[in-house]
């Protein structure tokens, strides 16, 4: 039995409980155990969660999970679909079952069932992730609930499933996939934050570097020329800005002299065409002018890697430009505005940016040591919305300061690392893979949630595991972790 892991688990839920009390103590009845307040309710959730933990650890046979995983998976999938039709609309999402006093989200349980089935699949005798058929099967196991959750308008929860890629990586999926997904995300975010120019330059830089290292031919020479190209292109926007500022200064000068100052100044001045030339035109012109030459070279010298790079560049450029389309036409309003605020495209502090800004203010005002338990002003006066659920980390940041944040994040890192190391020690393929699934889920929640509160990630409404107020989430993570503990303990028995 891994008591350290259980210790960290208990520590985290107690920290969560105290912070829920701190976040709500001015607006709600005043005791930790007052059951009308959220802290009191959370206490009940904690007790029941501990009951569940005992049940899983000591009463249920660990092998049950592997055996029942498929019916469980199908059942949960049914719930996921059902909830779309029977749920009420909560902030635009249809993901909550409303059972009188209790509300729960099947998406939380689905993490468990998906983890179990994925582990079962991977632990099959002939399973090899490098085989296309197995890869597709794994993708289906992950992708189906993910898509249904997207259909519930819970994109945030669905994003957590992307974490299962780490599990597949551990099981032998090529590192190129991770790199590729990373690059696609970087291009997407880069396009939205810094604009297409920088993302295409990033794409070009990555491809040139890959090509220099992996392709045929002299590496130093390729690196040198690639470096020069990227450097010149990186300086280009500043140069163009400088030119445009000259043009603008001249237009200003002209505007004073010409009798209708409001008419479009830009049309009067010859050099103002420079204002219309964007660096990206130059970059794209250079890029696409060199493609046929490089393509011919790749064909002549049979440089497959170069050929793939060219294709990747074209696809990447298409992705960058379609990003704008996706952003404008595929994402929903609230998602778009959240991303816009996150990416700093819109400093809309009173509207969609309100949450993030208030959250950053609350955390930022904590300083090194924080303001002390119950002393936070930002969180207790209710400037931060969703204070006890999704934004619970603000309370940690404000009242416990950087030291508090460091401790909490260290506890999570310990929890995740400990699960990974425990999983590595397992001989059973099922247990090991399941451990990785648990670690991935916790990691994704951790990174997305804290990233959101500090403004690194968009506002995606998912809870911080074990800390956020709410039974559904606490139960789900408790079950997730304790199934692993039970399996791990079981493992020790046999070997």
């Amino acid at each position: 039995m891994d008591w350290a892991l259980i210790g960290v688990y208990l520590l985290l839920i107690v920290i969560g409980w105290l912070n829920i009390f701190a976040a709500t103590h001015t607006s709600e009845p005043g005791s930790l155990l007052d059951f009308h307040g959220r802290a009191g309710k959370q206490f009940v959730w904690i007790l029941t969660a501990l009951g569940l933990a005992v049940l899983i650890l000591f009463l249920l046979p660990p092998r049950l999970w592997e055996g029942l995983c498929i019916p469980f998976y199908v059942f949960v999938l049914g719930l996921l679909v059902l909830v779309i039709f029977v749920s009420s609309d909560v902030k635009g999402s249809h993901s909550w079952f409303d059972l009188g006093p209790i509300r729960f989200q099947p998406a939380e349980i689905s993490k468990i069932s998906t983890s179990l089935v994925l582990s079962w699949l991977v632990s099959q005798q002939n399973f090899k992730i490098t085989k296309l058929k197995d890869f597709i099967l794994a993708c289906l196991v992950i992708g189906v609930p993910m898509l249904v959750i997207v259909a519930e308008s819970e994109t945030g929860s669905a994003l957590v499933y992307a974490g299962f890629i780490f599990v597949l990586y551990r099981e032998g999926l090529s590192g190129w996939w991770l790199g590729l997904i990373g690059l696609v995300i970087a291009l997407f975010v880069g396009t939205l934050t810094m604009g297409p120019y920088w993302s295409i330059l990033l794409l070009a830089a990555v491809l040139l570097a890959c090509n220099a290292f992996m392709g045929k031919g002299p590496m130093e020479k390729k690196l040198l020329w690639s470096g020069i190209f990227v450097l010149v292109m990186a300086l280009l926007p500043a140069l163009m800005d400088w030119l445009c500022s000259l043009v603008n200064a001249h237009i200003e000068w002209m505007a004073q002299r010409i009798w209708v100052p409001e008419a479009s100044d830009n049309d009067r001045y010859f050099w103002s065409f420079l204002l219309k030339v964007k660096p990206i035109y130059i970059l794209l012109a250079l890029g696409f002018a060199s493609l046929p030459i490089l393509g011919y070279k790749a064909y002549r010298k049979r440089e497959t890697f170069l050929g793939i790079s060219i294709a990747a560049f074209v696809v990447g450029v298409l992705l960058v430009f379609s990003t704008d389309y996706i952003f404008q036409n595929v994402l929903q309003d609230h998602q778009r505005s959240r991303i816009e605020v996150l990416l700093g495209m819109k400093e809309d502090l009173a509207g969609a940016g309100y949450n993030v800004n208030q959250s950053k203010i609350a955390i930022g005002s904590g300083g090194l040591l924080g303001k002390g338990f119950l002393q936070g002003t930002q969180t207790t006066f209710g400037f931060v919305p969703e204070q006890s659920t999704d934004f619970i980390f603000c309370t940690v940041g404000e009242e416990w300061g950087f030291v508090g944040c460091l401790v909490v994040i260290a506890l999570y890192v310990f929890l995740i690392a400990r699960i990974i190391l425990d999983a590595e020690r397992c001989r059973g393929h099922f247990t090991r893979t399941y451990g990785y699934c648990v670690a991935s889920c916790i990691f994704m929640h951790l990174f997305i949630n804290i990233g959101m509160t500090v403004g690194l990630m968009p506002v995606i409404g998912i809870p911080l595991p074990l800390l956020s107020y709410g039974g559904s989430s606490l139960w789900a993570f408790t079950i997730l972790i304790f199934i692993f503990l039970a399996l791990y303990r079981d493992e020790k028995k046999y070997f």
Partner: protein, 613 residues
């Protein structure tokens, strides 16, 4: 399988992700102090107090531009409750649909507006606001904000004063950090020239609010509030009465009058006609299309921007250069047989007057032929290797009078005009392909010479001062308002001061010889004021000649130098000379005795002669 070491890589990735989060938290909590300040400020809300814009005075303390109170109507859409749209519309004097469409618009933009207040109506007059104020309790979410607007007690002309309007995005971008949307700024004229003094500093009230942005009370009873600092008042060099009189004289004519006090370079009047009426200035946005579409271009400030051929007025410059170069002596006589004949059958015509004449008489009678000889002698002077060198020497002289360059006035948007150099003609006729007869029109201020009315007034002031000028300027130094030291420095021309009295004698005779004696400007004569003047009749390729006149008075110790330029006005003596003379009389005597002349000038309507674009 090569996945053995992969858990290490994943653990490294986990550590990196944790460090990324901690790094960001570190920057929020330890590095960046902005958030601590924001936290303190979180519960406070700042309401801008706009400063009163500085008042613009004339040189005698009369108000040219003042302020009057108006209001902006603000709406906080989230606080608006159901209300009687028609009642509100009636109170505010707008259509109910206007309010509906505004509120619909705010509803569409609700996420970006959030809890903020937005401006629904601008510059509501105080009568209307008072009505609204009585009933505003019925309309939660709506409130008024005091906003001064400009008031113009004197009709001093829109081009001189300039207008104030809300800054647009381009303006904000051009002045980074200085303006925010909703601010006003002076865009033209004096308002633009002294924007930095006039605008003042914004202040703010701090209110406490709760997290739903409802204002609860004044923060620390206003102890931390910052009062707006009103803009500096500006004293201009303008004489309000003279300016207004000039406006009246120039009505229904296209052109300009510029009057300067020679002993200081202070601009007494700067009239550009047609101009924007001051009644339209305060709310110029409303009249913008009308003004922009007016074919006479009322926003075009002819006094400093229109480049005209100066005509015969320029003979004074050529005479002075001739004297300085030693190729002309006052007693030199030249013949004039109704013009100057050159080449085979070419002639630059002149009007009938006695012949031959000396220099004084040439100024008095404005003989063209005389100045053809003068210019020819300047350009073909043996001390210059060729005519090109001669012309460049001439150009240097002319430029020293301020022509062909910006004078450096503090009035915005001044233009330079142009004076040709040898390069100008080399380009047209190729090098060596031209001689002094090619450019002979320069002698009488025609051809490639272009100058603004301000240049001509400055020439007049230079002659009045016998050889130097002060850079014309429109702002007087006053408490808290500095003017540049360059306005206190004498600017000497390259012509020796001893030569000026000889020219002035001719100008005196042009005005004071009495009718019938051949003096071109006898109509400008004023009893007991020794007015010295020079007429000009400049060709206008777009119709009738332009009427030009410069004069100063009195001859000794001059108090005013003036240039009048009337497009399509005909002879200099027809319009420009009487108008300039009337201005002089008005300024020096306080009232005008020649009422018949005054009336004739005011009534004259030349607009039909002016070709429109």
């Amino acid at each position: 399988m090569d996945s053995e070491g992969r858990h290490i890589r994943l653990l490294i990735g986990l550590g990196a992700a944790a460090l990324l989060l901690l790094g960001k938290i570190f920057s929020l909590q330890i590095v960046n102090s902005r958030y601590k300040e924001d936290a303190d400020r979180n519960s406070t809300i700042y309401e801008t107090i706009y400063p009163t814009r500085g008042v613009i005075y004339d040189r005698n303390g009369e108000v040219l531009v003042g302020n009057k109170v108006a209001y902006d109507i603000l709406v906080s859409p989230r606080e608006v409750q159901a209300f009687d749209t028609v009642a509100l519309a009636t109170v505010l004097g707008v259509e109910p649909d206007f309010i509906r469409s505004k509120l619909d618009d705010y509803h569409r933009r609700r996420s970006s507006i959030g809890f903020q207040a937005v401006t629904m109506m601008r510059m509501v007059p105080s009568e209307v606001y008072m009505r609204f104020d009585e009933v505003k309790y019925k309309f939660p979410g709506f409130r008024g904000q005091v906003r001064g607007i400009r008031d113009y007690p004197v009709n001093a002309g829109g081009n001189l004063l300039g207008y104030v309007s809300e800054v647009n995005q381009a303006y904000i971008d051009r002045h980074p950090g200085e303006y925010r949307s909703g601010d006003y700024a002076g865009m033209t004229g004096i308002e633009a020239a002294r924007e930095k003094d006039l605008r003042g500093e914004k202040g703010y009230h701090i209110y406490l609010r709760n997290s739903r942005n409802q204002i609860e009370q004044s923060y620390k009873d206003g102890a931390e509030d910052k009062e707006a600092i009103p803009g500096h008042d500006i004293v201009t060099t303008i004489d309000a009465q003279l300016q207004q009189y000039g406006q009246e004289l120039m009505q229904n004519k296209v052109g300009s009058i510029v009057a300067i006090e020679p002993s200081t370079g202070e601009i007494l009047a700067l009239v550009s006609s047609p101009g924007v009426d001051v009644s339209q200035l305060a709310d110029i946005g409303k009249y913008w299309n009308e003004i922009a579409q007016n074919p006479y271009k009322p926003m075009y400030n002819r006094a400093v921007q229109a480049s005209y051929p100066p005509g015969s007025v320029f003979k004074l410059v050529n005479g002075l250069i001739g004297l300085q170069e030693g190729v002309l002596r006052p007693e030199m006589m030249y013949p004039c047989s109704k013009g100057y004949h050159f080449g085979a059958g070419h002639k630059l015509g002149c009007h009938g007057h006695k012949s031959p004449i000396n220099m004084e008489e040439s100024i008095m009678m404005s003989c063209n032929a005389y100045y053809c000889y003068v210019l020819k002698n300047i350009l073909d002077n043996d001390k210059y290797a060729n005519v090109a060198e001669g012309l460049d020497a001439w150009h240097e002289y002319v430029e020293s009078f301020g022509f062909g360059r910006k004078l450096g006035s503090d009035f915005p948007a001044e233009l330079a005009g142009s004076i040709p150099t040898s390069k100008t003609y080399n380009r047209v006729y190729r090098r060596g392909g031209w001689n002094s007869t090619t450019v002979i029109s320069l002698s009488i201020g025609q051809g490639e010479i272009l100058a603004t009315p301000m240049h001509l007034a400055n020439l007049c002031a230079t002659i009045a001062n016998r050889g130097y000028y002060y850079i014309p300027h429109i702002i007087k130094a006053s408490e808290g308002v500095e003017i540049d030291s360059r306005f206190y420095e004498k600017q000497y021309t390259k012509v020796d001061t001893v030569h000026f009295p000889k020219v002035i004698r001719g100008m005196w005779r042009a005005v004071n010889s009495g009718a019938g004696m051949g003096g071109t400007a006898w109509i400008a004569h004023i009893d007991s004021l020794d007015v010295c003047g020079k007429t000009g009749t400049a060709q206008n390729p777009r119709g009738a000649d332009n009427s030009v006149f410069i004069c100063f008075a009195p001859m000794d110790n001059p108090k005013i130098a003036i240039a009048a330029y009337v497009e399509n006005g005909g002879f200099g003596a027809t319009y420009a000379a009487p108008m300039a003379s009337l201005m002089v009389e008005k300024y020096l005597k306080g009232s005008v005795s020649r009422t018949a002349l005054e009336e004739r000038m005011k009534q004259a309507n030349l607009m039909s002669r002016v070709k429109r674009d």
